[in-house]
């Protein structure tokens, strides 16, 4: 175990092995089974029936009503190195999800404790606690967290109603407690989404990257695997075939609270200055 995710050690005996996702986009066929499996299990409302023209992506983003999102990127680039030739097309598909950061800004800034670190090392919003302050929404460097505003859909289904709370992937917290793997990972036809103990996943990912590089895949990279990165590594990390921003991901995310101590001191200094300033207003002769 490299860096322990914040808050996880507090479970001492009740603590479980830290689990997560390794999403290997090099074998993602873009079927969206993960999106549907997630919605079926978590009974997530519909997210609108708008056609976007973003290739085959009509989900567009992770939000309160889509906790898995398959991105589609069409490129005119060489195909897989081992099968190069005829066509210059490349169609990237990536199933995005909450990263369950080791140092999670959403978790840190949540004022109510609605967001908490589970015994599995994951980050979950407790719907019985969240009061919809929205702080986590601005804190997340990936734009994952989102407040649910829903007008009931005109032609059903009835499960849509104004909600006001913040929702995101729970890594199927309830399923984990029952010893089942998360719905998306279970559904994935090609095991592009792999679930398991994080350490194991990291080893698997390293091997996978090595294989691809041996095959000459250029641009392939692990995203969020490194415990030294700005968020201490992801609990749900990725193998990408191009730079993160191509998939709509930040290339170098940093947990905002890393600078919090500095900010607090800074804020106290400013407060002090205010007192001095006010006092100064009473000093000196009349003008």
């Amino acid at each position: 175990m490299t860096v322990a995710p914040d808050g996880w050690l507090t479970y001492d005996v009740a603590r479980q092995e830290r689990v997560g996702f390794f999403t290997d986009t090099s074998i993602c066929i873009g079927c969206k089974a993960c999106e549907v499996a997630c919605k079926e299990w978590n009974a997530i409302p519909e997210d609108g029936r708008d056609w976007t023209g973003y290739s085959y992506d009509n989900t567009v983003q992770l939000d309160a009503n889509s906790w898995r999102h398959v991105a589609f990127v069409e490129q005119e680039k060489p195909v897989r190195a081992d099968g190069d030739g005829g066509t210059s097309l490349r169609w990237l598909m990536e199933s995005d999800v909450c990263k369950h950061c080791t140092h999670a800004a959403c978790l840190d800034v949540c004022p109510t404790g609605a967001l908490f670190r589970t015994e599995f090392g994951t980050v979950v919003v407790q719907q019985d606690v969240c009061n919809g302050c929205g702080y986590c929404v601005s804190a997340c460097p990936f734009g994952v967290l989102d407040k649910r505003h829903l007008a009931p859909a005109p032609d059903l289904p009835a499960f849509a109603k104004e909600d006001g709370r913040v929702w995101k992937c729970t890594l199927c917290y309830d399923r984990l407690k029952g010893g089942h793997e998360p719905a998306c990972a279970k559904a994935c036809p090609t095991e592009s989404i792999q679930f398991g103990p994080l350490d194991e996943l990291r080893e698997r990912a390293d091997a996978r990257l090595a294989k691809l590089e041996a095959e000459g895949a250029d641009g392939a990279q692990l995203y969020g695997r490194d415990p030294e990165d700005g968020v201490g590594g992801f609990g749900a990390f990725f193998l990408l075939l191009d730079d993160p921003e191509v998939y709509g991901l930040p290339p170098d995310p940093v947990v905002t609270t890393r600078d919090l101590p500095e900010m607090w001191t800074n804020m106290l200094a400013a407060a002090g200055a205010l007192v001095v300033g006010v006092a100064a207003a009473f000093v000196g002769g009349r003008s």
């Binding site: 066929i29 079927c31 079926e40 029936r49 056609w51 005119e76 099968g83 005829g86 066509t87 169609w91």
Partner: protein
């Protein structure tokens, strides 16, 4: 499909999905497997990760192409040119598996000297009759072998069976299963292999590149990869789907893959084979136990009006003296016993005389034509949506509007039930609700969770599903509907003495029912399908136990064994991790005889030893004197490799120990099909019925035998090739499915989670086409043919590549998913409205994978403007054509 049936003896996929993981090369063609069979595709990915080559040959760059190690883009409708090219390359460069071809195929067989090839007759085979527009197949026979049953019987109404009914096995007159004339050296100019060489000689890489619009190097790479991954040590597999079948040359396209796989020796071997990917849960089952006009369960031909009232003649003309079809009488008689019980007996010819007779074609589109003429009064539609899912949707909807009564059974209200108030023709004014006489009954159906039953999946596997919950309110299974409908009708006709009611009164129709709604027992039906010995009531364990004296009963001989030992074999669910081999024989039950990879005797060499250690599967165990291996041997277990049939041998005993294709009269796979196909013994490149191209090989442009609806007002055709007026419809259009939806959308446009994933009808076009006609990404396009015009959102993408003419001019291809209709959570125009009704002659399947269209920017006209818009363009095209009409050789030349 007769494509596989005539080549190998059975119409089913030759292998099973899991076996793909052992392939060294997988060619996916005519299929978008990753999108339409995502979970099956995991086995392709397994193979890829083990270093196998995955080649996708397809007009579009799809999610399958994205996963392939190689994608070759070709022009829609040029598959036979490509595959013929592969065959030619293999033969030219001597890359074929000589030993396999010599022993296991009819390559050495010498063909009648009357036979003339398309190369001689400019695109027609010998025997063409321009009046009838069909072939007399006599000259296609093996030398020294007259057409089976020909002896004085033709004038008495004998007809060779065709389509699904043709078992390929009917080359009669074979003494002990051996063709009269063979040349093992395969040098004889009229032996099949030489004919093949001659037939494909002009399919050079350059020809392929020109015709298919791919590069020579890409094509050669495919050939080399295939050859390098075939032979003793390695095997290659083909996967196809309706991208091959839905053409006027559909069956012949599959045949060309059969030819390639035979030449490479990839049939009946692990990691090899041809995997037909079916699109519906039980589409294989619905041909095995057919809801098709021309066959009875187990591919037994329906009696034909030409075959008179005589059982003997019917039996004789469908019995092959050699091979397993030698027991035809037993299969048929046992079926009649299952249908009519004691009412069918030897005295009354098992009621054969009373059975209804068919004509050459009573298929769905033939019915549609009669519907449009008002000659069909009543129609029952159960779990299908012709208003959206069938070619020329408008014709289908008009047809429904001319019925007296219509019953639609489905889970949601589909367009075929709602056409009378929200169909496109209501909006266009072509139909007025108050003028539609059709009486419509909509009956809610049950889902798979609400009934017991078995599906037969794409690999011939019967899998049982249990009822989980009771259907609500009026929702009922089809089992319930048809059982109680039959019960009511029998009741009402009890006292009738009309001759026409003889059969229905004689019908065995006593199934136990359960639960409050009196659901019939699906298991009881399955037991009847399996069959039992009438005397003892003992369940049969396989079709060899069937007898022709009426002492056994069996509802579908090829399914015999699915209830072996009184156990529902299809309900077996032993986890794969508890089974010894990846073949997992204890999961459900596969026909025939629970064999997962059929013709598997071919996985061993003629002497019965594995071709190689790496590819061992089934082999001869001399010590125990039996065939053994990972799977149930598809061969008589104790027939040794050296077995030579005595002259008087009949049926399976007439198949030598070295011939793995036991359903065929000669035990061989057929490179050349002397009988059973309508449009030729060898696959030949013909242009699609509607195509912007002329046939580069022959003056015969399209399949001469294709079925056309020449004088059907509802089905006008676009001018083709360089005909005047063709420029009105200058583009190629191809239709397809998306992962997120299922066929006509009844099962997915009604599901919120799926509707939101692909919410709108769209078309896929290349940036150049977008520029050419002024289409805007995200905007709207109107796509039109002489039948209809539809609108779709525009998705501009380089994944949609243009085909090229000789002179390099691009011919653009338009991609259209066909899931949308006027009813559902998400609605839109139906791509099938654009399609025509020219059909494949063997199976009467429509050509929706390649036809022509025009494209304009913007939304289509509304209301009455729409039909006017379509008619104006049609007239524009026609008026130009009438000046110099084109005469197709098929209409003029006799061969």
């Amino acid at each position: 499909m007769p494509g596989l049936g005539t080549s190998f003896g059975r119409g089913g996929a030759t292998t099973f999905q899991q076996d793909l993981q052992d392939s060294d090369c997988i060619v996916i063609m005519g299929s978008n497997m990753a999108e339409n069979h995502p979970v099956g595709f995991q086995w392709v990915m397994e193979a890829r990760e083990r270093g196998a080559k995955v080649i996708h040959v397809d007009p579009r760059f799809t999610r399958t192409s994205a996963m392939a190690t190689k994608h070759v883009g070709i022009r829609a409708g040029s598959d036979i040119a490509f595959l013929g090219g592969v065959a030619n390359y293999i033969l030219e460069h001597d890359l074929w598996f000589r030993e396999y071809v010599e022993h296991y195929t009819n390559g050495p067989v010498i063909i009648d000297d009357e036979f003339a090839d398309t190369e001689e007759l400019d695109g027609l085979f010998s025997g063409w009759d321009p009046e009838k527009r069909e072939y007399d197949v006599e000259s296609w026979m093996y030398e020294g072998m007259e057409l089976h049953g020909a002896a004085g019987q033709r004038e008495q109404g004998f007809r060779p069976t065709k389509g699904e009914a043709s078992h390929g096995g009917h080359g009669g007159g074979l003494r002990h299963g051996e063709p009269p004339a063979e040349d093992r050296s395969m040098e004889h100019p009229r032996c099949v292999l030489q004919l093949l060489k001659h037939h494909y000689a002009r399919y050079t890489p350059e020809f392929v590149a020109e015709t298919c619009g791919c590069s020579v190097s890409d094509f050669v790479e495919v050939c080399e990869t295939l050859a390098a991954n075939s032979g003793r040590e390695r095997t290659s597999a083909f996967c196809y789907a309706v991208g091959w079948t839905q053409h006027t040359v559909g069956v012949q396209t599959i045949r060309s893959a059969a030819v390639v796989q035979q030449l490479l020796g990839n049939i009946g071997r692990p990691g090899g084979g041809i995997l037909a990917l079916r699109g519906h849960a039980s589409i294989q089952g619905s041909t095995d136990i057919p809801t098709l006009y021309n066959i009875l369960p187990g591919y037994i031909p329906m009696p034909h009006t030409e075959s008179y009232g005589d059982l003997e003649r019917y039996i004789e003309s469908n019995t092959s003296p050699t091979g397993w079809w030698g027991h035809f009488r037993a299969y048929f008689v046992s079926l009649m016993k299952a249908y009519f019980g004691e009412n069918a007996n030897a005295e009354n010819e098992f009621l054969f005389g009373a059975l209804p007779r068919i004509d050459d074609d009573n298929s769905v589109y033939w019915t549609l034509e009669r519907m449009l003429e008002g000659r069909v009064k009543g129609y029952i539609v159960a779990g299908e949506n012709p208003a959206v899912g069938h070619a020329n949707g408008k014709a289908n909807r008009l047809g429904l509007s001319r019925l007296e009564w219509l019953v639609v059974r489905d889970v949601v209200e589909i367009e075929s039930a709602s056409f009378w108030y929200d169909g496109p023709e209501i909006d266009s004014g072509e139909l007025k609700t108050e003028e539609i006489a059709t009486e419509v009954f909509f009956l809610p159906a049950s889902t798979h969770t609400e009934k017991d039953g078995s599906f037969t999946n794409t690999q011939r596997l019967l899998q049982w599903h249990w009822q989980a919950v009771e259907p609500k309110e009026d929702a009922r299974s089809e089992l319930w509907f048809y059982f109680h409908l039959g019960r009511l009708i029998k009741q009402k006709l009890e006292d009738s003495d009309a001759e026409r009611d003889r059969l229905i009164k004689a019908l065995r129709w006593d199934y136990p029912t359960h639960s409050a709604i009196q659901e019939p027992s699906a298991e009881a039906v399955l037991q009847e399908v399996n069959g039992w010995e009438i005397g003892s009531g003992k369940f049969l364990s396989g079709y060899p136990e069937l007898r022709d004296d009426g002492s056994t009963l069996c509802g579908c001989w090829i399914y015999c064994g699915c209830f072996k030992d009184g156990v529902n074999q299809t309900a077996r669910r032993k986890p794969h991790w508890e089974q010894e081999t990846r073949v997992a024989p204890e999961w459900a039950w596969a026909w025939p005889a629970n064999r997962r990879l059929i013709y598997n005797r071919a996985s061993a060499d003629p002497d019965g030893n594995p071709w190689s250690e790496r590819k061992r599967y089934v082999w001869w165990d001399a010590s125990h004197g039996e065939w053994t291996g990972l799977d149930v041997p598809d061969f008589q277990a104790d027939k040794e490799p050296g077995y030579v049939p005595p002259d008087d041998a009949k049926a399976e005993d007439a198949i030598a120990g070295g011939h793995p294709f036991i359903m065929q009269a000669d035990g061989r796979a057929w490179l050349y099909v002397p009988q059973g196909l309508e449009d030729g013994p060898l696959p030949t490149h013909y242009e699609p019925h509607e195509s912007p191209f002329d046939n580069p090989l022959y003056s015969q442009r399209a399949n001469p035998r294709r079925q056309q609806t020449d004088d059907l007002a509802e089905d006008p055709y676009n001018p083709v090739a360089d005909d005047p007026g063709a420029d009105v419809y200058p583009y190629i259009v191809t239709t397809y499915r998306l992962t997120e939806h299922h066929t006509a959308g009844g099962m997915t446009r009604s599901v919120p989670y799926l509707a939101e994933l692909q919410p709108e009808m769209f078309c896929e076009v290349h940036p150049d086409l977008a520029r050419e006609v002024g289409l805007e990404h995200g905007g709207w396009a109107t796509i039109y043919t002489s039948r209809a015009a539809i609108e779709a959102r525009v998705l501009v993408t380089a994944r949609m590549r243009p085909a090229r003419r000789k002179d390099g001019r691009p011919v653009h291809q338009v991609g259209l998913p066909y899931h949308w209709g006027s009813h559902g959570l998400v609605t839109g125009d139906s791509a099938n409205d654009l399609a025509h009704l020219a059909l494949d002659p063997n199976v009467h399947i429509q050509e929706v994978k390649a036809f022509t269209c025009g494209v304009r920017p913007g939304r289509r006209p509304r209301g009455g403007e729409l039909p006017r818009f379509v008619a104006e363009l049609r007239e524009q095209a026609r008026s130009r054509r009438v000046q110099e009409p084109r005469v197709e050789p098929e209409q003029a030349r006799r061969t």
